[in-house]
Symmetry: C2
Subunit: 506 residues, 2 copies
């Protein structure tokens, strides 16, 4: 066994020496593939996890589709329909998102212990994925028929089977220790770890089993049980974090540090999951456009007198909505990307803030679609634009939250060079603050100048990408300006010019 | 500049020594993130490319949605409606898939030269992505109104802007050589490379510009021009490959080996793109189910007398279709995953076969949905089942094709240890051949026993995952059996038993 694990490292070193001239990234990838192939049946888990992340991120955002496809009548006021949406479909969407995120986090933790896979584990994981993708549907049944115990039974059934498959995965992996993380592999109390992990994993199915039994006796109690199961890790984590920050005491390190709820999530998997969500959300509107907005040959002939241009110009608002939402989601991804370049480890709380941010991002295409659907200067249009601003604001402010939380415990979570470099700090802060500030500004401007709301919103759509392009320059000019105002003796004009040149070069 | 590039390697080495005890994969990831952060504005391109791959794979499969949502009337014969589908929507889907794959391949080649990015490149790339995601729509306009030149103008416009943005990316990257691949960075004729790459990239926009001018004069010619642009790289590559195989001659190495059409595609990006397609396709049906198949409270009260169970049992075929398609797509992903564990480099031709395989996989959910939509033992059901078998067969046979092509030039494309190890070869072949064989078998069985077609199909759905689980065992038993038959003196019963035990352990 030892030989199997040590082999790749040695070979990797060789390869590194060999590939001095070729690209560093290339050597890295060769590296990884070498490592993944040292044993015929043992493989690196990387691609399996990437595929799982892609599946789970699609499923997390799926419940936005029923929301997006709800037709709002022309005569109805948006306010009422928004209230109807808010109570049921948006609620289902947000809950689904959180539930799937909890399932995803459990999956991440499990595969932080099991770092290599073989065919059998890959197939078991696929079975697990299939059941996770079915969770949103059972949940929406539960939300539509809260008094019927079929929804809760289906949901609990899925969760129990998922738990059993995960238990099977753990038992299987511990019977082949070379699949495990090195730290556990070399430790002597393998059995203790196994029992501990099984205990943690089987807690949820057992709770669900109880909930499904209670659903026959006292339905409300089973809902309470379920809510406890799902949100307990987040709530307890949040409380612990608050307490440790409030009292200033260090958290007492747990005796078994390998499978704790407070263990940081894998940064790479968090990135992969976020990428999946951003990608799906960015393309949601084009999916609809490709399906619905190709005009019929007959319609063009009869309604538009054969003029395709006029037929397409009727769809104008849809294209505009698509470009607007793509740009906004793309730029929020860009900020997320920049943020996580500085992060080395993601704590649970950062993961929670990230989930909130992603959940708001998921609502963006819908909001953008609404802004272009109503007649100009109507009350509906104004409200749709304000809802968009609020969503952008919360998506951005949660990203800012991640950064603030990371700064709180920068020793663990941030790269060494970020901790002391003032300018990078300010630049990052500017990037993160741009969207919340602009959204807030647009919101209040549309409140005051309500008859120009659409123009203000379009102006925002156009200026924000440009602002990102010249952000580095803007920040430096602003800093130089501030310095000029507050300590004029230090800010010699030459330095400012130099810095601007600097900004243009980098 | 030198310092910026050398730094990460040195730091990586340090980190490696430091993390002797921690997991190898962990050290790899730390590694990568360290490397990506040595310069405030320079970053590893990895995550940007992963996000691009996710976006492009979603867009490649998007045109299957209009096909999947076409309602087929009960009285209509499937044959006729299938023919209608085949001529327009499926054609549009396949063409879109190929066009997007071509755009993706161009993107891969570009970012094989540019291996690091900064904020400006990230934003330019997002703009490029936005236009690529718009291509399917312009193409479907072109297909619906072939005699109108608006579609072709829009398409050419998009391609031209994409080309210009890519040219901008190249100019920008060459003005900051530390963003480039080391091989080019250190070479002296940087300008020659730049002009060569610009030439290759701008060829397509220029052709599109010509096509858009011709569209006013002679529409058919512009279509010919477009077809040339899009399929030229594939066709020329295929012809070159055929010729070199037919004549047995080695391909003459090109004088500028860095940006040639025959340059292998990045294996990792091919995997990421495939993962995205498999993930979207696997969840296509659950997206529909979550949106459409949650029964209304009113409907359940009035139609089903308040019985939710009977309301849901009406959707039974949809769930079955979902599970069937998820399992099939999941297992095809599994085969793809196993296959690419052995591959080190992917040639263009392998990429083409992969694209074909993925295009067929995209049709699977649709086919599965059809198999469960028709009444039992109808002619429609039989044909839907046979179409499913054909699609599975082609998806599988193209994967097998990738393996065969890889074996042809195994020196470049396969891992060292695969080249000589007979047993791994046979096992891989069994994995790849399982789906085509089963699909073919099911097809002919349903031809003969047409009244049991549904049962045969369901049996296949259940047995194939089990077959994958015990495949290693099956192959060894089969091999031992063959040996027993053909050379009984070598096959001592003890060895077979030992091998079986071996198979159970690994």
């Amino acid at each position: 066994m030892e030989e199997i694990i040590e082999h790749p490292v040695v070979e990797g070193m060789e390869e590194r020496k060999r590939s001095e001239t070729s690209s560093f990234l290339e050597s890295l990838s060769e590296h990884r593939s070498t490592q993944s192939n040292t044993h015929g049946s043992t493989q690196s888990s990387q691609r399996l996890l990437a595929y799982s992340d892609a599946l789970i991120s699609i499923i997390a955002t799926v419940m936005i589709l029923p929301v997006a496809h709800t037709k709002i009548g022309e005569d109805e006021e948006l306010k009422e329909s928004v209230q109807v949406l808010l109570t049921t479909k948006i609620g289902v969407y947000l809950m689904t998102f959180l539930i799937v995120t909890v399932a995803w986090a459990a999956h991440v933790r499990l595969f932080q212990v099991i770092v290599r896979i073989d065919d059998c584990l890959a197939l078991l994981n696929l079975a697990c994925m299939m059941l996770i993708t079915f969770l949103p549907y059972t949940f929406s049944l539960m939300a539509t028929f809260p008094e019927n115990h079929l929804g809760i039974l289906l949901f609990c059934g899925c969760v129990m089977v998922i738990g059993l498959i995960q238990a099977l995965v753990v038992v299987y992996a511990f019977s082949r220790p070379f699949l495990l993380k090195e730290q556990i592999q070399t430790s002597e109390d393998l059995k203790v770890y196994k029992h501990h992990i099984l205990q943690v994993i089987l807690k949820v199915p057992v709770m669900c089993f109880l909930a499904s039994i209670f659903s026959f006796i006292f339905l409300q109690l089973s809902y309470v049980l379920l809510a406890m199961v799902i949100f307990l890790p987040y709530i307890s984590q949040f409380l612990k974090w608050c307490r440790s920050k409030a009292t200033g005491e260090e958290e007492t390190p747990d005796p078994e540090p390998l499978y704790q709820a407070s263990e940081p999530l894998s940064k790479e998997r968090l990135e992969a999951f976020s990428d999946g969500v951003y990608a799906i959300v960015a393309t949601l509107l084009i999916l609809d456009i490709c399906e619905d907005n190709v005009p019929d040959r007959e319609t063009v002939k009869t309604v538009y007198n054969g003029s395709l241009v006029s037929a397409l110009s009727d769809y104008g608002p849809e294209y505009l909505a698509y470009f607007g939402s793509f740009v906004t989601v793309g730029l929020l991804w860009f900020v997320h990307h920049s943020l996580f370049l500085h992060v080395t480890k993601t704590t649970r709380f950062m993961g929670l803030l990230n989930a909130f941010s992603l959940a708001f991002v998921g609502g963006l295409p819908l909001a953008y679609q609404l802004t272009h659907e109503f007649p100009r200067n109507s009350n509906n249009e104004l409200e749709a634009i304000q809802v968009s601003c609020v969503i952008i604001f919360f998506a951005g402010i949660n990203q800012l939250g991640i950064w603030v939380v990371a700064l709180y415990s920068e020793q663990e979570t941030l790269h060494r060079y970020v901790r002391y470099a003032g300018r990078d700090h300010i630049f990052m802060l500017a990037k993160l603050a741009l969207y919340p500030c602009v959204a807030l500004g647009t919101f209040f401007l549309t409140c005051i100048l309500s008859q120009f709301s659409a123009s203000i919103f379009h102006l925002m759509e156009i200026t924000v990408p440009l602002a990102f392009l010249v952000l580095r320059l803007l920040v430096r000019v602003a800093l130089a300006g501030l310095r000029l105002v507050f300590c004029p003796e230090r800010a010699i004009p030459r330095t400012i010019l130099e810095e601007e040149q600097d900004a243009l070069v980098t």
